[in-house]
């Protein structure tokens, strides 16, 4: 099954109730199985510029990389699959582009962005992220968080300094410890997950998960799984009804069919030997 038939993809972004600017950017390329969401930061319109560069670079790097190779092909140096390698490389490329733009134009100094991205291939998905934008998965009736925020609060939770229950009272919520475009180099976090038919993947900016509790996200995705555009609209509406203090963006990907990468038998045999 081709990706475009196997996946249903919906995206939506909203400035929220208090902000004049929308510093979030989203881009989807269903034919490649690629979705990207970025939450920019920086003064004036620098946040929009940074997140805009991030999604544009990601799409323009990955689409051609997958056009002349299969995503399961292994990289000769690292032994990693092309899907994983190219997602990581695209995030690094986005980092370099934003970093250089910020250095060359003073009004963009210090701009940066988070990125959360997913590339669906061969009945799997590789999720790559930097910062506090998240990827969730609804499987059956349960919502699971697939990413770990690169934030001060998450580090405090990990070190046992602050309990999960207390974290909601923290005044240090919006400090990210990693971002794209701030430094000359960035280390994206990449993980591959198996995919099942019926799964719904949610990528979102913190404007959603700061305003809407995980339980409400879960019930909205579960109840509205038959109508993905409505589910996206409901999540944004819910964030805005609760105050909408930040820009809010969501990308939803529903797995409708399997999408194994076609392999000819000599390739399979070769793969088997390489293991």
């Amino acid at each position: 099954m081709r990706l475009i038939e196997a996946l249903e993809v919906v995206s939506e972004t909203h400035p929220g109730m208090l902000r004049a600017h929308n510093e979030d950017s989203v881009a989807v390329e269903p034919a490649c199985g690629l979705v990207v969401l970025a939450d920019g930061m920086g003064g004036y319109n620098a946040g929009e510029v940074a997140s805009g560069i991030a999604v544009t670079v990601m799409i323009s790097e990955i689409v051609p990389a997958l056009a002349d190779a299969t995503p399961i092909q292994r990289d000769e140096e690292t032994g990693e699959e092309l899907a994983v390698v190219s997602l990581g490389a695209a995030i690094r490329k986005a980092n370099a582009s934003i970093f250089n733009a910020a250095r060359s134009q003073s009004q963009y100094a210090g701009m940066g962005t988070t990125i959360v991205s997913a590339l669906f291939y061969d009945n799997r998905v590789v999720v790559g992220h930097v910062g506090d934008s998240r990827a969730y998965r609804l499987r059956g009736e349960r919502l699971e968080l697939l990413t770990r925020d690169h934030s001060l609060l998450q580090e405090q939770i990990d070190s046992g300094m602050i309990s999960v229950e207390n974290a909601r009272h923290s005044k240090n919520k919006n400090l990210v410890t990693r971002a794209v475009g701030i430094d000359g180099e960035v280390l994206p976090e990449l993980h591959v997950h198996d995919v099942l038919v019926g799964d719904i993947y949610l990528l979102c900016s913190d404007g959603l998960n700061d305003m809407v509790e995980d339980g409400d996200i879960e019930s909205a995705l579960y109840g509205l799984q038959g109508n993905l555009p409505m589910a996206a609209e409901q999540l944004i509406q819910c964030a805005n009804d609760n105050g909408g203090r930040d820009n809010v963006s969501v990308i939803l990907v529903k797995i409708k069919h399997e999408y194994a990468q076609p392999r000819s038998w000599p390739v399979r045999l070769l793969d088997w030997f390489k293991k």
Binding site: G160, V164, T177, A179
Partner: protein, 261 residues
């Protein structure tokens, strides 16, 4: 304004101590930041560690212990107006940081250039204070600084983190309401509409949702061949606002919507 501790005895203020240092110690000995010269107080009794806008209180294995708001504790994440008791002395914690910052500033994501907590800190979760010190020098900077310090460690951690619960959002300010089933085997059953979204029907087959919003309650058709009706009128694709005592019919099941107060 920075957070501060106000030391008092029998309702009389003794000392006011702004929490400008990362670590402020409280005890009987003279080298403490807050000295309480009383035999019930240990030499170095407790410490308050402040990281940006958050302060944490820790009992340093004192002989007589301490309590916060009447509860004995070893470690506590201080909230505005908390009262720490050490013997007969009281220390009130004041931090009105949130009201000082506008909501939109507060939500703004910022990059933190920090020597992040080192790997071993996760292991020494217990009472030990070592991991607090690791954050010394943590600061927000506009530019510059080395962001790579913390990278390696975070990259090694697994993909299944503890989920920090979101800020408890203000509930939509709509009145309490419920639906009661009028026919069929479940007749008489009442379903209170407490969540922002209540699903009627079976996902994948036939679904309508009731959404609770600041302006009121709405019913929307989600999926399935049959559209619900309200007071005998079939619904379209758009959400429909519900009025008191409206009768909803979905796939043969009738239910009445009403406000609870």
């Amino acid at each position: 304004m920075t957070a501060k501790l106000i030391l008092s005895l029998d309702g009389v203020v003794v000392q006011e101590c702004p929490l400008i240092k990362e670590r402020v110690t409280i005890g009987r000995k003279a080298h403490n930041d807050i000295v309480i010269n009383n035999l019930a107080v240990s030499g170095v009794h407790a410490a308050v560690v402040t990281i940006l806008n958050d302060s944490f209180l820790e009992d340093l294995d004192s002989t007589n212990g301490l309590s916060v708001n009447g509860e004995v504790t070893k470690k506590h994440f201080l909230q505005n107006n908390d009262v720490i008791e050490i013997g007969k002395y009281k220390l009130k914690y004041l931090n009105d940081q949130v009201s000082q910052t506008s909501a939109s500033d507060f939500e703004k994501t910022m990059m933190m250039h920090a020597p992040a907590i080192p790997v071993q800190s996760a292991a020494e979760k217990s009472g030990d204070t070592g991991h607090y010190r690791a954050l010394q020098g943590a600061a927000i900077e506009e530019s510059g600084g080395d962001t790579r310090l913390g990278y390696d460690r975070v990259a090694k951690t697994g993909p299944n983190p503890v989920v920090p619960p979101p800020l408890s959002p203000a509930q939509p300010a709509s009145r309490a309401a419920a639906v009661q089933i009028l026919n069929g085997p479940n007749a008489g059953k009442e379903l209170e509409l407490v969540k922002s979204l209540t699903t009627l029907g079976k996902p994948g087959v036939q679904v309508a949702v009731l959404t609770r919003r600041p302006l009121g309650y709405f019913i929307t058709h989600v999926e399935g061949a049959i559209f619900p009706s309200v007071n005998g009128q079939a619904l379209g694709e758009q959400p429909h606002q519900l009025n008191d005592h409206d009768v909803i019919e979905l796939a043969g099941v009738k239910m009445e919507f009403y406000f609870k107060d």
